[in-house]
């Protein structure tokens, strides 16, 4: 199989073993694992809320949770999943682990800042747990004022502060990535030799840096208004609740791209590797990533078409929303074309990646319908929107996250995972996901508003179908916890490059040593130099079939 010589016997996992060596580590790979633990915990907390939501909606009367508890549940689901899972998910775990490895660096530029980011994340996580345990927040993750500021009696301040603090963690990590990618690339690693995952994380980091501060200010004002009555948005003083919405969505729409861009990066690594051919249109893919990151800032108003924003602004934002869909479309076509004349195998990461492309396409196309003004007026704030963004964020981002986790699992842990179980989980995810969320498109067009704990009885069929799908999805998401856990202890040892892939991360041992490389690699080759005809490949440091 692999000709890479076995690395040093001391890996980043075994070089030190005290508890302090983990909690005070400056090694980006260990910090990635710390983040992985935190993020996984929040994924299951948010998932528990989702389970209760779907259980409640089996019955049109919604009497399992009742109004108040249900409102707290979907708020908790939204806040936890958005800020404590989706946004940090791929960047802080796979990104943290892989960016230095992929660019041939020994660590991130600011290792202490990286560790600090994890601690700040956990402080914000504790605040989040506090507001949940203390009785929850019932504003929805969008914190719309004046409900959140003048009317809600729930723990709005704690929730807002939790998200505010979380933003510091986001910014610290993003800043680290940007400086690292600018300053620590190995010799020969030019911008257009960077793997697309690095490009994606770079674009994501830019969005994080430039959007998160606006959210921080907005939530600060919400907390000040709720806590002290400093009513910047108070309509009784002449304040404008729509100003809040502008500021909130200036962050929260780009935040969607924070969630999806890293997933696109993962898919762009996986698809060429398992199709054994170079990615179709590498340059176009990089331009599309940057275009999405920039134009993504011009479209926030499409969340406000019915809000009372001016008609003219509505038309401008609708236009921009169509424009931002163009680079996404290019990416879908390029991934599809990457399959052309490849030599495709169907390992679990590839199944997840193909699922990602399919589900993201459906999510993106329904996004076009939402960008169309008259359709949006009918379906905004209904389950149509819920279905749309779950297709993008869950079908897209979570699928890619699982795909990437399987793909780099041997590199991270030095163990192989059980392939058949993983393929089963991938297929089950795809099936369960569609049964859960496709009916919600129909519910939405039928006019079921979001955030309703009870609904008209004639909509029950679709809701029960959705809940049934959710139970399949839950199983599919729990499965990896068990078989990956098993692989940690008993999985067969992985060699340095089990997928015969071209990135620099595969040019060091699995798991890598503390400072990643024995010698700083010198890059001579563009990424993805696979050849499907004779099944050969050239790694980025020029080694052939290594």
């Amino acid at each position: 199989m692999s000709a890479v010589t076995a690395g040093p016997s001391e890996t980043y996992l075994t070089n030190e073993s005290s508890i302090a060596s983990w909690f005070l580590t400056k090694d980006h790979k260990r910090i990635a694992l710390l983040f992985f633990a935190s993020v996984t915990a929040f994924f299951f907390i948010g998932g528990a809320a989702a389970t209760l939501i779907r259980l409640n909606l089996i019955n049109p009367a919604g009497n399992l949770l009742g109004a108040d508890l249900y409102n707290r549940m979907f708020t908790m689901h939204g806040i936890v999943m958005v800020w404590f899972f989706l946004i940090p998910s791929i960047p802080t775990t796979l990104g943290n682990f892989l960016i230095p490895l992929m660019i041939g660096a020994r660590d991130l530029a600011f290792p202490r800042l990286n560790l600090g980011s994890w601690y700040v994340f956990n402080i914000s996580g504790i605040l989040a747990l506090y507001f949940i345990i203390a009785g929850g927040d019932d504003t929805g993750w969008t914190f719309y004022t004046p409900y959140s500021t003048l009317f809600s009696n729930s723990h709005v301040i704690a929730a807002a502060v939790a998200v505010f603090v979380n933003g510091f963690s986001t910014i610290m990590t993003a800043l680290n990535f940007v400086v690292t990618i600018h300053r620590l690339r190995a010799p020969g690693m030019t911008w257009f030799r960077l793997p697309l995952f690095v490009w994606a994380i770079y674009a994501t980091s830019l969005v994080m840096l430039l959007a998160t501060p606006v959210l921080a200010m907005t939530l600060l004002l919400i907390a000040l208004e709720h806590g002290f009555g400093i009513g910047i948005f108070d309509p009784n003083l002449g304040g404008d609740p729509l100003l809040f919405q502008h500021m909130f969505w200036f962050y929260s729409h780009p935040a969607v791209y924070i969630m999806i861009l890293p997933a696109m990066g993962v898919a762009s690594e996986l698809i060429p590797c398992f199709a054994r051919r170079p990615v179709f249109g590498y340059r176009g893919m990089t331009y599309a990533l940057v275009a999405i990151a920039v134009v993504g800032f011009f479209v926030w108003g499409h969340h406000m078409f019915t809000s009372g924003m001016s008609v003219f602004a509505g038309i401008v934002f609708s236009f921009m929303s169509f424009i931002v869909a163009v680079p996404s479309a290019i990416k879908v076509f390029n991934w599809t074309a990457t399959l052309h004349r490849g030599s495709i195998s169907f390992d679990a990461p590839m199944l997840y990646a193909l699922g990602f492309v399919g589900l993201f396409t459906i999510g993106g196309l329904t996004g076009l319908m939402l960008a169309t003004l008259p359709i949006d007026i009918h379906v905004t704030d209904t389950y149509f929107v819920i279905a749309h963004f779950h297709y993008v964020m869950v079908g897209g981002t979570v699928s890619a996250f699982f795909g990437g986790l399987h793909y780099w699992w041997p590199k991270i842990t030095g163990r192989l995972y059980p392939e058949m179980w993983a393929r089963g989980a991938a297929i089950l995810t795809f099936i369960g996901f569609n049964i859960t969320f496709f009916p919600q498109f129909i519910l939405g067009y039928l006019g079921m508003p979001r955030r309703y704990y009870s609904y008209a009885p004639d909509l029950q069929t679709w809701n029960v179908l959705s809940s049934a799908g959710a139970s399949i999805l839950a199983i599919a998401y729990l499965m990896p916890l068990f078989y990956l856990g098993w692989s940690l202890l008993w999985g067969p040892r992985a060699n340095a490059n089990p997928w015969r892939a071209t990135g620099l991360e595969w040019r060091t041992s699995s798991p890598p040593p503390e400072h990643n490389f024995e010698r700083t690699p010198v890059v001579t080759t563009p990424p993805y130099q696979y050849n499907p005809e004779d099944d050969s490949y050239v790694a980025q440091d020029g080694a052939a079939n290594a």
Partner: protein
């Protein structure tokens, strides 16, 4: 070596004087524009001289501008709504 700093310090104080002066001029709705414009000139001096943006590497100029550039997105697209609200 200190001379450029001293000159820009004097310039900044002069601009401060100018800004105070505008308070007493009948500029009407150009008032916020005038003050904001003076602040931009002052900020440019501080960034270029005190924060040594004129020195390489160029990449720091990119990030120094990026923040302000992105802010124009918020101002530009946000203000569209307020200038075209129904009445």
């Amino acid at each position: 070596m200190l001379l450029p700093y001293l000159i820009s310090w004097l310039l900044l104080l002069l601009l401060l004087g100018l800004s105070v002066l505008t308070a007493y001029l009948p500029l009407g709705s150009f008032h916020p524009l005038a003050n904001f414009g003076i602040a931009i000139v002052q900020a440019t001096i501080v960034f270029a001289i005190f924060m040594r943006l004129r020195e390489p590497p160029a990449i720091k100029r990119v990030f120094a501008c990026a923040g302000f550039f992105w802010l124009t997105f918020l101002f530009g697209l946000g203000v569209i709504d307020y200038l075209t609200r129904a009445h």
